[in-house]
Amino acid sequence: MKVDMTYLEKLSKLEVDDKEKFLKEFANIASCFEKFEEIEKLDDGLPTSKTVKISELREDIVIKSDIDPLLNAPKKDKGCYVAPLVVEQ
C-alpha cells in the first residue's frame, strides 16, 4: 500500500511533525484493513445507508433564539466577528 503523506496532509489541512514515525504507525494500522481482501465479492444489494430509520424532520421555521453567536469570537466589533486579514496578494 503506497501512502502519499504530502497528499494526505494537504487533504486533511494538517502537518505531522515526525513523518517517519507517523507513516510507520499508519502502515501498521492500514495493514489491518487488508483483512478485507479475504472477503469475497459482497452483494451489491447490501444497504450502505443508516442502521436505523430516521425520524420525522422538524418544521423548517424561524424561531427566536437566545444563543449569542459571538460568544466565542476572539475579537468582535459592531455585532460582527473580526477575522485576521487573510486575503492574499
Partner: protein
C-alpha cells in the same frame, strides 16, 4: 455527616424531596470528594455556579413546589457535551476556552428533573482513545490502581463514579468509550440502541455511532437515568422513540459468540468468562453458541468508518470559527493548516488523516464502500442471532486495565482493546457493561448485548445475573 456514597440516585433524590437532607449538603459531599481525589485527574473543573443551582432546588422544596425525580442529584458532565455558559474543551487545545452557547438535550432533560450538573470530567481528546492518555490535562488514573489507565474515552466519567465523586456521570460511546472505562473501573456503563438518546449538543466524532449515556454504580440507577435522558428530539433527526419496556420471562436464552472466543487475552480471563456462563446455566438458563461470521471484520470496519466521519466532522475546526488563529499563519491556507496542527493532538491527527485516506480516490470503494456493506452484514447477523437468544454475553474488554504508557506508542494494539465493544457500535444495538469479577484485584466487566430497543430486557437479565453470580476471585 451522611455518607451519600452509600445511597442510590433514587434515595438521594427522595431524601432531598422529603427534607432529610438538602441539595447543598449532597453537593458539598461530592465536591469535597472531588478535591480529596484530585490526584486521579478525573475532574477538569467544578462549576462555580453549581452551588446556586443546589440552593434553588432547596428553595423549591422549601416552598412546597414540585421537584423532579433527580432532585438535588449531582451529575458530572463529560467535556464534550455542551452545558450553556460553561466551558467545554473536548480535552483539546483547540477548544480550551470555548464557552457553550446552549445546552445539550441530555443536559436540559437532567436539569428539568432538577439534577445538579456540577463538574466536567477528563476524557481523550475529541473522544478519540481507549486510555484517557490523549488529553491536554494529562491522563486520568484508574480508580483501582493509579498506575493504570482509566480507559477511554470517558475515563474521567467512569473514575468519577468509581471514586464516589458523583452518583452519575455522563459519557459518550462511539466504539466502547463508556463500556470499556466502566469495565476498567468496576462501574456500570451502557451504550443504548443508536438513536435512543439525542446527540444534540455533543461534539460529533462519528455521527453514525455516537451515543450519550450514563455511568453509574448500579444497574438500577443506570436504567433510571437512561429513562430520563432518552427520547426523540427535533434537534436530532436520528433519534427514535425507544419505549424501554418488555415482557418478563421466567428463563432467558443466552448467546455466546462462536467467533469471539479467541479474543480473550489469557486463561485467567477465560476462566472468569466461563464462570459467568456457568452461573447462567445454574440459573436454569439455556446457553447457546451463536454465529456472527463477519464479526472478525469489525475492527477494520470501525477504524475505516469512524475516522472517515471524523475527518468530515472535524473539518469545521479551522482556527476561525473555533479557537484563535495560529500566529504563524502567513496566508489563508497556512492559517488553516497551522491552527489545526497546533490545536489537535497526535491521535486526532492520525484519525483525520486515516479518514481522508480511506475516502480518497482509489481507496473509497475498497475500504469505505466495503465497510458500509460489512456493517450491514454484521447488523443482519446480529438480528438473526437475536431470533435464537434474548441476550448475548461477551467480556467487555480482553483483559483488565493496562499500565499508563504501555500502549500509547502502539496505536493498533490500543485499537484492538475495542474488539468486544466495536461490533455493538457498528450494529447500532444496545449493550451494558456490568462488573462481574476481578483479576489481580482489578475489575472485569461483562457485556450484555441485545436486539434493537431491548435495553430493559438487558438490564433485567444483568440484574438477575449479578444476584446469582459469584466471581472466581
Amino acid at each position: 455527616m451522611i455518607d451519600f456514597s452509600t445511597l442510590t440516585v433514587m434515595q438521594i433524590a427522595d431524601g432531598v424531596k422529603s427534607k432529610k437532607w438538602t441539595a447543598v449538603e449532597v453537593l458539598n459531599y461530592f465536591t469535597d470528594n472531588c478535591q480529596k481525589y484530585e490526584d486521579y485527574n478525573a475532574i477538569i473543573e467544578i462549576y462555580d455556579d453549581a452551588i446556586e443551582r443546589a440552593k434553588e432546588i432547596d428553595k423549591k422544596v422549601e416552598k412546597g413546589e414540585k421537584v423532579g425525580i433527580l432532585a438535588g442529584v449531582p451529575v458530572i458532565n463529560k467535556d464534550n457535551i455542551l452545558f450553556k455558559n460553561h466551558k467545554m474543551s473536548c480535552a483539546s487545545n483547540f477548544m480550551k476556552d470555548f464557552i457553550a452557547p446552549y445546552s445539550a438535550t441530555v443536559i436540559e432533560k437532567l436539569e428539568n428533573e432538577d439534577a445538579v450538573i456540577f463538574a466536567r470530567a477528563n476524557m481523550d481528546q475529541f473522544a478519540m482513545g481507549s486510555s484517557n492518555e490523549n488529553s491536554i490535562y494529562g491522563p486520568c488514573k484508574n480508580a483501582c490502581d493509579p498506575e493504570r489507565v482509566a480507559g477511554g474515552s470517558s475515563g474521567g466519567s467512569a473514575v468519577s463514579v468509581a471514586l464516589n465523586l458523583a452518583p452519575i456521570a455522563l459519557g459518550t460511546d462511539t466504539g466502547g468509550s463508556i463500556r470499556q472505562p466502566a469495565s476498567f473501573n468496576g462501574v456500570v456503563g451502557v451504550k443504548p440502541t443508536y438513536g435512543t438518546v439525542s446527540r444534540y449538543g455533543a461534539v460529533a466524532f462519528a455521527s453514525s455511532t455516537d451515543q450519550i449515556s450514563p455511568i453509574t454504580k448500579t444497574i438500577e440507577e443506570n436504567e433510571f437515568v437512561l429513562k430520563v435522558i432518552k427520547g426523540s428530539d427535533c434537534h436530532d433527526q436520528t433519534t427514535i422513540d425507544n419505549k424501554m419496556d418488555f415482557v418478563k420471562k421466567d428463563k432467558y436464552t443466552i448467546g455466546v459468540i462462536k467467533q469471539l472466543q479467541d479474543g480473550i487475552n489469557d486463561s485467567d480471563s477465560k476462566k472468569n468468562f466461563d464462570n459467568a456462563i456457568a452461573t447462567f446455566k445454574n440459573m436454569g438458563y439455556e446457553v447457546i453458541e451463536v454465529d456472527i461470521p463477519h464479526i472478525e471484520y469489525s475492527i477494520p470496519c470501525y477504524y475505516i468508518l469512524t475516522p472517515a466521519e471524523a475527518s468530515s466532522n472535524l473539518a469545521k475546526f479551522d482556527g476561525l470559527k473555533y479557537s484563535t488563529p495560529s500566529k504563524e499563519a502567513t496566508d489563508l491556507d497556512s492559517l488553516y493548516v497551522r491552527s489545526r496542527s497546533e490545536g489537535f493532538g497526535d491521535e486526532v491527527k492520525r484519525r483525520i488523516i486515516l479518514g481522508n485516506f480511506v475516502l480518497s480516490a482509489g481507496y473509497f470503494d475498497a475500504y469505505y464502500g466495503k465497510s458500509k456493506k460489512v456493517q450491514s452484514l454484521i447488523k443482519l447477523e446480529f438480528a438473526n442471532a437475536f431470533k435464537k437468544c434474548d441476550a448475548i454475553i461477551t467480556p467487555t474488554t480482553p483483559d483488565t486495565a493496562f499500565k499508563i504508557g504501555e500502549k500509547i506508542n502502539d496505536p493498533l494494539s490500543m485499537y484492538l482493546e475495542d474488539i468486544f465493544t466495536v461490533p455493538v457500535s457498528i450494529a447500532g444495538i444496545p449493550a451494558i457493561s456490568v462488573p462481574y469479577d476481578t483479576k489481580n484485584n482489578l475489575p472485569l466487566g461483562l457485556q450484555f448485548l441485545g436486539a434493537d430497543m431491548t435495553e430493559s430486557k438487558l438490564y433485567e437479565i444483568a440484574k438477575l445475573f449479578t444476584k446469582s453470580h459469584k466471581g472466581v476471585n
